[in-house]
């Protein structure tokens, strides 16, 4: 009879170490590209970063200075509009699938969300061009927001659904048992219990579309000047980076690197800020 009190055999210890090693290696492989990209951006972009870069609009080529302030503001506006569209619709669809669905229609919504997730971003841009830009006869931040919002929906809807499914049914029963109407129990108890995961889903979707260029080409279009009117063509960081990167000028290449660095930093700031704000009022489980 094998004795369980005997120390592990050499072979088993070796296997154990191998698997720990492989898992660690996989973790490093995940971190490496991000670290490499970030390091490269810092090296290439930090030289062109200045107060001017953050506070001035682009200057004509040949004139030194100038920055991407209008693109930073434009990206903020377009992403804000996109989130305004994508977050409520995505969460709403997720709630529907998890809490009120059941049956064929839910299946259809889930399938559609999965397919939408795979639609190339340029196709979303063209679709919004046809649906919003053409009827309006001009490019605008709003149409850019619509395009990004549509792209956010599937990720948010699916993560919301998954996170709500993880809330134990007895939590729903506790809320209903108190005489709380179902819509309120769903929003303020079930969704709140799942809020951490749902917010992660929103952040993933946000971070993903923040760097999108293609859907903005035919919608927000870009702008070399300040624009605060969401109904006008608006600059965006990815567009500006794209335009500068394909230009033949060294100065613009340097600015494109700085723009990319700023874009990543802005995403990190936005994600962190949302985490801090939304964690208020939620008590920790084990304190």
């Amino acid at each position: 009879m094998p004795s369980l009190s005997r120390p592990l055999s050499l072979a088993r210890r070796a296997k154990n170490l191998t698997f720990i090693g492989l898992a660690g290696l996989a973790a490093i492989m995940v971190l490496l590209p991000l670290a490499a990209i970030f390091a490269y951006l810092v090296i290439k972009g930090i030289g062109s970063l200045s107060v001017d870069f953050l506070t001035h609009t682009p200057r004509p080529i040949g004139t030194p200075g100038g920055g991407m302030a209008n693109a930073i503001a434009g990206s903020t506006m377009i992403l804000g509009l996109g989130s305004l569209i994508g977050v409520p619709l995505g969460i709403g669809a997720g709630i529907y699938m998890s809490e009120f669905g059941g049956g064929r229609y839910t299946h259809l919504v889930r399938f559609t969300a999965d397919v939408l997730n795979g639609v190339p971003s340029i196709v979303v841009g063209i679709a919004v061009y046809a649906l919003v830009v053409l009827p309006q006869h001009h490019f605008s931040a709003i149409s850019g927001g619509v395009a990004l919002g549509i792209m956010m929906i599937p990720t948010i809807a699916r993560t919301t659904e998954e996170m709500l499914q993880m809330v134990p049914n007895m939590i729903r029963e506790a809320a209903l048992g108190l005489g709380i109407p179902q819509w309120r129990a769903t929003l303020q108890v079930t969704l709140r219990t799942a809020s951490k995961g749902v917010i992660t889903g929103c952040m993933l979707a946000f971070a993903r579309v923040a760097g999108e260029t293609a859907p903005l080409l035919f919608t927000a279009f870009g702008n070399q000047f300040w624009n605060a009117d969401p109904n006008q063509p608006t600059a965006a960081l990815p567009l500006q980076i794209f335009a500068y990167a394909i230009s033949p000028f060294d100065e613009w290449h340097r600015q494109a690197w700085a723009g990319a660095l700023i874009l990543i930093i802005l995403i990190v700031i936005a994600v962190t800020a949302v985490r801090i704000v939304t964690s208020r009022g939620v008590v920790q489980h084990n304190t």
Binding site: I171, E173, A174, L176, L178, R192, S195, V283, N286, T287
Partner: protein
């Protein structure tokens, strides 16, 4: 104040399988009624029919009438949340809202039903926690600690406080002590004994000693039927049905 209960011809189904058959029962106001019986006999379904929690399960349906105080629970047009607000429920496993503080857990029933007066909510929270004998243990961490951070027994008393805070007239308890250790169980039983001054209580239990200790009346369920319903004393000393006797003497179940 507690209210009386009157159940007439109650039948309940999950899909095609019938889990309750023609149950008739009358319980007095401010009495504790225990519901006993082997697993799967329909006792949980019975209490869940009293506050319309039964219908929250897909494919569940019922027939018959239930009257709690002056509420016709299944009157057409009767709104289920209104019924549940007047009939509190405590579940088998403690289920505090994990993302809410202790205070918010107790206040949830009031706040999420649209009640906004802070001062009064403060008072109700304190009163409910005192009644459920939890106040002294949590008064310093009310808003700092999550309901889920308490021990199992404390969580269940928190759930009782949460149910009491909406000031129900009837309190349903579905095996409230089955997941707890003997000391916590003792505390809950003591609590039930005190609660009947202000509430009518219906408690489902697997534990016959518990029924004998806390209940004025006891109903014995078997395969979806209410076999016998009488004063607890009578059920445990001189049951009139052979099946009741077999069950309480441990011959089956």
């Amino acid at each position: 104040m507690g209210v009386g209960i009157e159940v007439k011809n109650l039948n309940a189904w999950f899909g095609k399988s019938q889990v309750l058959q023609e149950v008739n029962l009358k319980a007095d106001a401010n009495a504790v009624t225990a519901v006993i019986g082997p697993s799967g006999c329909g006792k949980s379904t019975f209490v869940r029919c009293l506050n319309r929690m039964h219908e929250t399960i897909p494919e569940a349906r019922m027939s018959g009438s239930v009257k709690v105080g002056d509420i016709e629970v299944y009157k057409p047009g009767q709104n289920a949340p209104d019924v549940r607000r007047r009939i509190g429920m405590v579940f088998q496993k403690p289920n505090p809202f994990p993302t809410m503080s202790i205070y918010d857990n107790v206040a949830a029933g009031l706040r999420l039903n649209g009640y906004r007066k802070r001062r009064e909510i403060d008072q109700v929270v304190e009163h409910s926690l005192r009644v459920s004998a939890l106040w002294d243990e949590v008064k310093d961490v009310l808003k700092k600690k999550s309901g889920a951070s308490l021990s199992g027994g404390q969580q269940q008393r928190l759930c009782i406080a949460r149910a009491l805070a909406v000031q129900p007239e009837l309190l349903l308890m579905d095996e409230p002590a089955s997941a707890l250790d003997p000391i916590s169980t003792g505390k809950i039983e003591e609590l039930i004994f005190q609660l009947k001054a202000d509430f009518t209580v219906v408690i489902v239990t697997h534990n016959m000693q518990q029924a004998a200790r806390v209940a004025d009346y006891t109903g014995f369920f078997l395969m979806g039927k209410l076999i016998e319903y009488d004063k607890t004393e009578k059920i445990f000393t001189a049951p009139s049905d052979k099946r009741t006797e077999d069950y309480i003497t441990g011959r089956f179940g």
